[in-house]
Symmetry: C2
Subunit: 432 residues, 2 copies
């Protein structure tokens, strides 16, 4: 237990320090090589990578439509319903984010509009690993579906000679995705950035991934004009603010459900009560003993801090400085504290709002800025699948009125052709 007020400023900064990201030079070299091979050899490079990295034989790149359609038949009813419920809630929440154009006259005869255009072609990446991640399909796929993007590509690795998981396919089916590519890692990202014989070229790639995926997204978004990514990536993290009446079992469970994500996950508790912190420590040990991923969670707990604060207000100040991906408020009357929230990716309000609700099914998006990026980046939302552009329509009278602003500014900025483009039109008006 750390007592916040007994720390020096430097120690306080140390307590909130995130584990260093070790994007090694090796990863960069390997990823650049993968990118080059995909650019040169397209599909055949992807097949080679699937054999090499995913240990597959008879590699198939695209899932047949029939397999997507039939996926529901091999799911348990329980999982089918769970995926449908999550899909519906995520869709309801994101549908409410559909944007409206803005249109107004700034000056009589000067109509200005802000319009939205769905990004034409998007790529959704779902990492592999020890278990399939249908929730990751839903979080990205619902947005792509609602945006009306013309091309939607889902790429995910499949390990060994297993079949692609039907839960992934059923989530894709609900989202109307027809292009599912069995390819992962940096190769899959490069394939979506360049396009290959099988993989359509996209303008923006979404989704989490390992250090190779992250590096590929970073390199390609910097080097390929017209190719963008959702947001920078970092390890997952949670910060819990709890008061004297909070339930230590709940706190421990929330901390561990973050810690089990990965060894580099970070969890922080800010609490104003010594006893609650001590009981949370005990509950963590008890719950860890029962946890299949205890090794991972225990490693993550090494990066983590249970901190005694003087007041709940102080806790919010510390949280704003840290900028957590997930912020859980186990407080009596938590709503009164919402105005103090700053720099959080997603906020979980009250004792009965665990992080796992938002990870799966409340309706909010679980793709969130982490590693301090929540000071400036947004949680994934529907607008990330759109771009805005402006339209102006100016009448003859409107241009006359604006000219008294345009001409002196163009002159001040030494841009005579800018001024002339107005003058030549005003002359024409005089001649008319």
């Amino acid at each position: 237990m750390i007592r916040w007020n007994e720390l020096t400023l430097q120690q306080q900064q140390g307590a909130l320090m995130r584990p260093a990201l070790s994007a090694s030079k090796n990863v960069e070299v390997a990823v650049n090589d993968i990118i080059e091979q995909v650019a040169l050899n397209g599909d055949s490079a992807l097949i080679t990578f699937a054999e090499k990295f995913d240990k597959r034989s008879n590699v198939r790149l695209q899932v047949p439509q029939k397999e997507i359609d039939n996926s529901v038949k091999v799911l348990s009813t329980e999982l089918k319903v769970a995926i449908e419920t999550a899909y519906n809630n995520i869709k309801t929440f994101h549908q409410a984010q559909l944007p409206n154009s803005t249109s107004l006259e700034t000056t009589p005869g000067v109509l200005c509009e802000l319009r939205y255009q769905a990004i034409d072609a998007v790529g959704l990446y779902v990492p592999g690993g020890s278990a399939p991640l249908p929730s990751s399909v839903l979080m990205q796929g619902v947005c792509a579906q609602l945006s009306g993007a013309k091309t939607v590509v889902l790429a995910t690795p499949v390990n060994g000679d297993k079949k692609i998981d039907p839960a992934i396919l059923y989530a894709a089916k609900l989202c109307g995705i027809t292009t599912v590519i069995e390819s992962g890692g940096a190769g899959a990202i490069a394939a979506m950035a360049f396009g290959t014989e099988t993989v359509p070229k996209v303008s923006k790639v979404f989704g989490p991934g390992n250090s190779y995926v992250t590096m590929a997204k970073q390199i390609l978004s910097q080097s390929q004009p017209g190719f963008a990514i959702d947001m920078p990536a970092g390890p997952s993290e949670v910060l819990v603010i709890a008061d004297e009446r909070a339930n230590p079992e709940f706190i421990a469970a929330d901390l561990l459900s973050q810690a089990e994500h990965g060894r580099d996950s970070q969890v922080i508790l800010l609490c104003n009560n010594t006893l609650v912190i001590e009981k949370t420590q005990q509950a963590i040990e008890t719950q860890l003993a029962l946890l299949p991923r205890a090794d991972i969670a225990r490693a993550a707990m090494q990066n983590s801090s249970l901190i005694l604060v003087e007041s709940i207000e102080q806790a919010f100040a510390v949280s704003a400085e840290y900028g957590p991906e997930h912020l859980i408020l186990q407080l009596g009357e938590p709503e009164q504290y919402l105005p103090l929230v700053n720099n959080a990716g997603s906020v979980f309000v009250g004792d009965y709002t665990p992080e796992s609700a938002g990870d799966y099914a409340s309706g909010t998006n679980h793709v969130l800025p982490t590693y301090g990026y929540s000071k400036v980046y947004s949680s994934l939302n529907l607008l990330d699948f759109f771009r805005t552009y402006t339209v102006q329509t100016i009448s003859k009278q409107g241009l006359k009125a604006l000219s008294s602003a345009i001409l002196p500014l163009a002159e001040a900025e030494g841009l005579d052709a800018h001024a002339y483009a107005v003058k030549v039109r005003l002359e024409q008006l005089t001649n008319d």
Copy 2:
């Protein structure tokens, strides 16, 4: 004149090719050195750079408030009114973009919200060069003001021993900016990313700049967690679509008002009429003869193409492929073609809507994605000064209802602690 339909696919791609960006290794090395010096030496590094690059003596970093306040006194009435008119129009258009939270129940007892938070601290960069750019202050400053950002820093270089231009200061004053820093280039960007004794640290930097500024923005946004930039930069460009009734003098003036921006600017005309193209060519020559920046404009015209298309519909297809920063429609009944617009930064509709209207005073923002980035990036808008985050508040009943979705998904994904965070709460409910 290029006849589009007589080109091979490869020649068509060549005709739309943008000039290569030469971000040289030298620039990268120099910028990394500048960043390091600012990180180490703060203000004193900025002073050294102002002496070296801007040829200043007695360098002052911060403009006194009194000088900002008094700037209006030394402006001509004409320029004062122009700045005020532009400010008002830009403010009117961007005020209409102020975001509203979304709040709804996705399931009874499951309240989900999308909220907006102004980015706390923003930096606005205005390049120096041969003339001051008050319009660049307004485009960025109005957004910062409307967002309510707590810290707003404006940085701009001042050449030689001139005073900072009062038009810059008056534009800043209208936008409520009190921190104006006389520093430019990569050093100014680094100062805003790190903070120095004089320069407040910011989370996001906006604005155009030369290759050093662009490189500094790119390096720092990749290496400093929690530091972001507005959008990738590229040379400016315009694409005009004109029909047989368009006025060649207007077309020429619009092409040249883009070409005078810089030698690397690109201008493209798509027209369905040979005669109009020929007359435009003549008008360009005539207008060039009168242009002070004719050298620059002439160089830019080398990268440029006047293209004969078969139909206006074909012109829109070519434009969508190119993705122009500015798209000007000199068409009869242009509104009917707006549904065909794709991948443009800002659209100028009709014969009396020159690009310079949007550059200065119509109300739309002139910070736009260029170099093909308009396929995926937005024109600068008020939301770029905000971030979104989500909030969920779940009741006991709400959690019960959601659990049938959360538990099977957590199990399918092998995340037991995620499931336990729900189960421990359901147990408590049973015990209650």
